[in-house]
Symmetry: C2
Subunit: 495 residues, 2 copies
Amino acid sequence: MKLTGKQLLGNTWSQKGQRTFQGLQASNGEAIETFFYEATTEEVDEAMRLAQQAFSPYRKLSNAKRAEFLLAISDELVALGDSLIHMACLETGLPEARITGERGRTTGQIKAFADFILGDWTREIHDPAQPERQPLPKPDLFQKNIPLGPTVVFGASNFPLAFSVAGGDTMSALAAGCPVVFKAHPAHPNTCEMVGYAIQQAAQKTGMPEGVFSMVHATSNDIGGYLVQHPICQALAFTGSFRGGKALYDLAVRRPIPIPVYAEMGSINPVVFMPEKLKNNAESLADACSQSVCLGVGQFCTNPGLLLILKENEDFLGMLAARLDQQALGTFLTPGIKKAFISACEHLSKQVGVQTLTSKAIPAPSLFSASTHTARKNSSILEEVFGPSTLAIIADDMEDLIAFIGDLPGQLTATLHGESQELQQNPDLIDALSQKVGRILLNGFPTGVEVSKAMVHGGPFPSTTDSRSTSVGTQAIYRFTRPICFQNFPSELIP
Amino acid sequence: MKLTGKQLLGNTWSQKGQRTFQGLQASNGEAIETFFYEATTEEVDEAMRLAQQAFSPYRKLSNAKRAEFLLAISDELVALGDSLIHMACLETGLPEARITGERGRTTGQIKAFADFILGDWTREIHDPAQPERQPLPKPDLFQKNIPLGPTVVFGASNFPLAFSVAGGDTMSALAAGCPVVFKAHPAHPNTCEMVGYAIQQAAQKTGMPEGVFSMVHATSNDIGGYLVQHPICQALAFTGSFRGGKALYDLAVRRPIPIPVYAEMGSINPVVFMPEKLKNNAESLADACSQSVCLGVGQFCTNPGLLLILKENEDFLGMLAARLDQQALGTFLTPGIKKAFISACEHLSKQVGVQTLTSKAIPAPSLFSASTHTARKNSSILEEVFGPSTLAIIADDMEDLIAFIGDLPGQLTATLHGESQELQQNPDLIDALSQKVGRILLNGFPTGVEVSKAMVHGGPFPSTTDSRSTSVGTQAIYRFTRPICFQNFPSELIP
């Protein structure tokens, strides 16, 4: 398909601005053909106006009709065929197998939401009337969830399909009955346009109201801020950096009418290795850990960036460093991410008390180590390094390790590697970890987030701005709904 | 019981400050015996420290044990007997029958939460492993809700029992497993101390960890702000004015680690009277409406402060005004509330295009009227008047009325009085109202909020700061929880 570089406003491809940018090949930084136009505020106004206009007819559609729309998006996505795969590979540097797998994940997610809304998903609660109750009759009360309204979604750079245009945020909002205005990610604008086109085709083919989906391009923060502050916007979903997510959160809560913000902003995902487990499984754990650290060039929000071990197990780190030295670096998503990775690794390597255990020159898969004492004195070493790097923190003993966990900021995940007995003997360790995270794993690695009704991909601040939610799995839909109670309404009058 | 006027910090009655204030008799403004000490920041620190310390043991208690604590609070509340009733009447000016009824509501709420946590309340979701799945085995995933942590609760002046010390906010947080630090309301400090004592007795008798509940007194906003910004505070519940709730919200979202804020800030609760219904029921509607407007001296967050009718039904307002003229005014909760009521009524009566339809001198139960055109030009007339007053807005026709509703800010409730046929002919009216509110009622009045699993006492901003929640009914518990996912955990290791 021939790409336009324009904004998708309902069914119209619009170009009002003059400033342009291009997508870049991740492997060599060369520009890709199409020039993308920066959206203007007028174009954002139009996208929001269309979303507002679409909201009323869209929320009144049957769940079956909305599910049909979702599944049509999946079909259109698949219909883009190899051209989508190739473009996503070109823009992100991720290998074809990964992108093909991610497409399967994306269509799987869409199907999961479509299935979910075909069931009893609105959390209906009925409390029947008791007309004979004294002194006052009890009314009939019926509670259900309804959609919040037009939603703005910012996609992530690291999952060009699964957390982007037709990713979980867009799909959960659409499933809930909320029109979506999507802010395309400038790290893969060509991929975005292709997927945006697929959604627009699906919307038209299934007779959706115009404006149920729009997409704007921008490299500037101004347009992002304008979107979030737009009076029509009723909710915000974001996946990306702490800096970006927090800036949008700050704008959203300072609006005259504040809105819910679901910003997933990263995490260092502590992994605890317990002594007995290490005694029995050091080699296989070193293998699996090195692979998890390097998966997707370490560019996962669930990347294990913090390993916690006892002093007595320090040997394990040598083994792990050797494994990491054998891993290839891979291609970063963008030159900016690569640069930030180099700078973060260099920062770490220069800190007093931090040892560099891997031997290749930066940038390479890297392992650093420090004691809990060093980390307490210098919390900068605990900042997320986006890429294939991890920091091992060495605790004096289990008590020191648990105390250290107690001082960690909120995380998406925590992982425990332990044998039954040592786990049972340390309930305080499990309890301490569970207080910090949205997901806690036993004897696995946090990368590879299962799409499931039971998944929680979220966690206490600063991993997200709303620990009461998940951005993966079917429960993600409730980020975009609110409960309403109908009192003494006959069912035929309930919208 | 002899009251101390001190802060309740865990099991200790503390007095470190020197500044004092007294509770006042609502009827005559005379001071009541006990001097209450303003809490110091050190005392708040101690309350929060104790809450933090209590959180770990408290969250690990069985639901049965927590339910026992809740029911013991109810018992202790009842054990205070008439002295509590008399004190609440003295401080609020509310009649004995109302306060006795409110005590029943309060103990009923407590029992409802106790029952609720004895059932399956943590929203558990289990998605079993599929070890044989290709290419990757599917992990076992188990989701449940866990408590957020120490919670600060600000009580309301208008429900000295049901929305105060042992009211729905405190009880839902305690039921969820969150220790509570309660900010006593200076409009009824003596009642607060009595109920605080009851909770402390219940905590000791059922062996709760010290610090599960503390209470501080303050008349200054500084201590309120200090509580909300305290690093240990993990959630905030508030019932009161827009000004107060919004100020606390602004502090909470600007914290280094923002926290959820559940502020219920008032509402004008539109009531629509449709033509056919009025034709058949004008007299009984005027009766019921005048009673609802005057219930509790109009000091309800669900008070019907906005009546919507068509021009053709203007006659109804004369009938309603006559009924309101027959209603007694009653005693306001505080001199400040009375003064604000007078000033708001005077403001309304002076606005261009606003008619005063009741005939008694302000302060009295009052009915004002204006056209939709006037209200569009002067939105100040739509501000909440806390007290027995209501404003009728007269629409040209149904289209004008629906458009007017579309421009209203968020509300706790909306009410429709209509006959079947006219309701069925106006689905857009029901749809428009449902977009604005947390609860929509048919052929009733919004005062008298049923405590039910299906209730929603909440609504879009500015009626609350979080439309995704309810502060009445058992679902209120989820304001103080977040989901966590355990991956591949044997059940015996899940805390």
